[in-house]
């Protein structure tokens, strides 16, 4: 049902229209998505206005969004920001922050990466200094922030001045239009997923959760997000695999469909293996996240690395199978190829995740 809904709402023509806009998404369509299907609140508990499902259901939603290449601030709002708030916020904070997200009224994001491009908590350099009335002042630069230039609410990771590593890290919230905050959309290689650079000059922010205690919750959020991204990538990879198969069955050369050539059949069989193995990894990661399995850090990293490579390889093969038309702008393959390429790097590249997987297993 969700697949059909997204097919209707997000055909390639709509993806192409939205990717040319600065925002990359439309509020009316976003509100409709939530009013009709309640998707933004899938894994948010019912007491905070959500659907009360878990990461398995969230994974299914993401798989379909990846398939449809939906242009919406879903990964930023629901996966990154809402999960960070659920992992970090006090009960009172969750009561305030989560319901508007679950209702689709507030678009949010998590600003943690900086120009140094590091994906771990220790890479955070932005300073948070105590300000007036229990609030804090943020100074520094965040980069690669998903939908950072359009989000209504920004969850920001920063550290106590002079602290290092995992010490002194806290999360804060600030409105997207806060004074002292300069937001600039970056030219993203993947035009369907917008990135922004955010410059904080004495921006006033509220502490989320415990002061100095964010390293654990932030790492957990990023681990869960890696599992989610694996699901999204698997959906995109399967969409490409099927499109390559359909094309090979249609395309005639030398008097027969190119699908009848063994070189094509073997490539398609290999693509199926790539995608299905990655799917198994994504499902294992979603289950581990749902059960809060102690093995989640290892399995999420495994799935992120595996799905990244399967997605990109499938995209490369899909272009190859399409031949000359495969690398034209008019053919849709490049839309997914670019998502595959940016997702390969986003939240940490495969080599980085493989190393994390070994360390999580104590190797």
């Amino acid at each position: 049902m969700l697949r059909r809904f997204l097919q209707e709402k997000s055909p390639p023509a709509v993806v192409r229209r939205l990717m040319e806009t600065d925002a990359g998404w439309e509020r009316d369509a976003w509100i409709e998505l939530n009013q009709q299907l309640g998707l933004t609140g899938v894994h948010i508990p019912e007491e905070y206005g959500g659907q009360g499902f878990g990461f398995v259901e969230l994974g299914i939603v993401l798989e379909e969004m990846g398939r449809a290449l939906l242009c919406a601030p879903y990964f930023s709002t629901t996966v990154l920001a809402a999960t960070a708030i659920m992992n970090t916020g006090t009960r009172a904070q969750q009561e305030v922050l989560l319901p508007p997200i679950a209702l689709g009224e507030v678009v949010a994001t998590l600003a943690f990466t900086e120009p140094n491009g590091r994906w771990d908590a220790s890479g955070i350099e932005m300073n948070a200094t105590p300000g007036d009335a229990g609030k804090f002042r943020l100074d520094g630069i965040k980069s690669f922030v998903l939908d950072g230039h359009t989000a209504d609410l920004i969850v920001v990771a920063a550290r106590a001045p002079g602290s290092s590593g995992e010490d002194g890290l806290s999360l804060f919230t600030t409105p997207g239009g806060a004074a002292g905050l300069t937001r600039r959309a970056l030219k993203a290689l993947d035009p369907t997923r917008k990135l922004a650079r955010l410059e904080f000059n004495g921006v006033e922010a509220e502490l989320l959760g415990e002061l100095g205690g964010a390293a654990g919750p932030l790492t957990k959020t990023l681990t869960q997000a890696a599992a989610c991204l694996a699901s999204e990538m698997v959906g995109g990879a399967e969409r490409l695999r099927v499109s390559a198969l359909d094309y090979a069955n249609l395309r005639m050369q030398f008097g027969r469909p190119i699908a009848s050539f063994q070189s094509m059949k073997h490539k398609q069989a290999d693509m199926l293996v790539d995608v299905e193995l990655a799917k198994s990894a994504a499902y294992a990661a979603a289950s581990a996240a749902a059960e809060d399995d102690p093995e989640l850090p290892a399995i999420a990293s495994l799935a992120k690395a595996c799905a990244s490579e399967a997605y990109l390889q499938t995209a490369i093969n899909t272009i190859q199978i399409h031949g000359g038309i495969g690398f034209t702008w008019d053919n849709d393959t490049h839309l997914w190829f670019k998502r595959a390429k940016s997702s390969e790097v986003f939240l940490g590249d495969p080599a980085w995740h493989r190393e994390r997987m070994l360390q999580a297993w104590g190797v």
Binding site: L245, A248, N249, R256, P257, A259, S260, Q262, M264, K265, H266, Q268, A269, D270, L272, V273, E276, L277, A278, K279, S280, A281, Y283, A284, L302, A305, C306, A351, R354, E355, M357, L358, V363
Partner: protein, 418 residues
Amino acid sequence: MTEPNEAAVRAEARAWLEANWNAELGLAEWRGRLIDSGWGMPSWPKEWHGKGLPPAFDAVVAEEMRRVGAVGVARSGVRGLAAATLLEHGGDFHKAKFLRRILTGEDNWCQLFSEPGSGSDLAGALTRAELKDGRWVFNGQKVWTTSAHHADWGLLLARTDSNVPKHQGLSYFVLDMRQAGVEVHQLRQMNGHASFNQVFFTDAEAPAEHLVGEVGGGWAVATTTLMHERRGADGMRLWGAASERKGRIYDEERAEIATVNEPYKWYPQRAGRVDLVLERAKATGAIADPVVRQEIAKLLTLSKTAEWTARRARAAQAQGRPPGPEGSLGKLAASHVARAAARVHTAITGADAMLTGEDGPLDGVIAEILVSVPAVSIAGGTDEIQRNIIAERVLRMPKEPRSDDDRPFRDVPKNRLV
């Protein structure tokens, strides 16, 4: 008749086992009682050593057997394939003559399908079967025959007619392996083991009634055998699971399992021994090398995802869902795992990878991995054939153009025999 229910079947099986199971019996004697009771093969028909229960109850009875430690009927190796094939395609003569002695374990069986000229293309078999004076006479050669050297009977696919298209000219026989016209030679592999045999027929004979199915109907019968072989491929690992309990019957069962498993003792090495990778990497210090760590992580990822994919397939099967693509990928995935494992073992081992036997690491086990892995992507269907099967049956891509099934088999180009 009322539908059997699980609780009733369980209670009945348990009561029978409590009254009859005795670890001090001889293996043959115990199996005789088990077979007569029908509890040895609960889903087989009552007239043929079974209980006529739906297949779902096999697991219930097996659970009760395990609970008391009872030994089951013999069905490892080709025995199980022979039993399933004869039950489906055999006449009363075959069932009466062979089934019971398969289940007691008294007879060993082998499968005589592959030939030097037909590996991936089994229906291209050249071994001839001719009816002379009311007896079938066989001439030709088979290969890759596991356990032929201690088999009593063979399942033989042979050509009875070369004037019709290839699949229509094959017939299926049960052949007595203990006769002068059957010669068995071991086939030595590149890893030094000899798990398979070549079998030569020079006017080997079988009585007319050893034909299974119709003359010319052998391909359908062989397909049944192959289907059970593929289905059982997953269970192969279980064959080695002999009980460690004490008692005469367990000793006899261990000896039987050892004989069946003997040809497969290098199979774990053929699969790549992913289980050894981490301990070896720690032992050699390669675990500190970031490049090797990446290769190890890639291997573990492949191995884990292959395992999870097999689990997805089993879960779909258990829920009665139609098998999805995940079910057809295991063999290809296993090849990838084995090859990656051989690469990683080499990277971990360094110069010692040039040594074998007692000079090699782990008393030659690492060397055995390196020289056994090439077989994994060939045995039981090559990777290329697997890809064709996936493309044609799962992805519904066009079938390979053929030039061998539209003309009499005698006109199909064949390998020159060397």
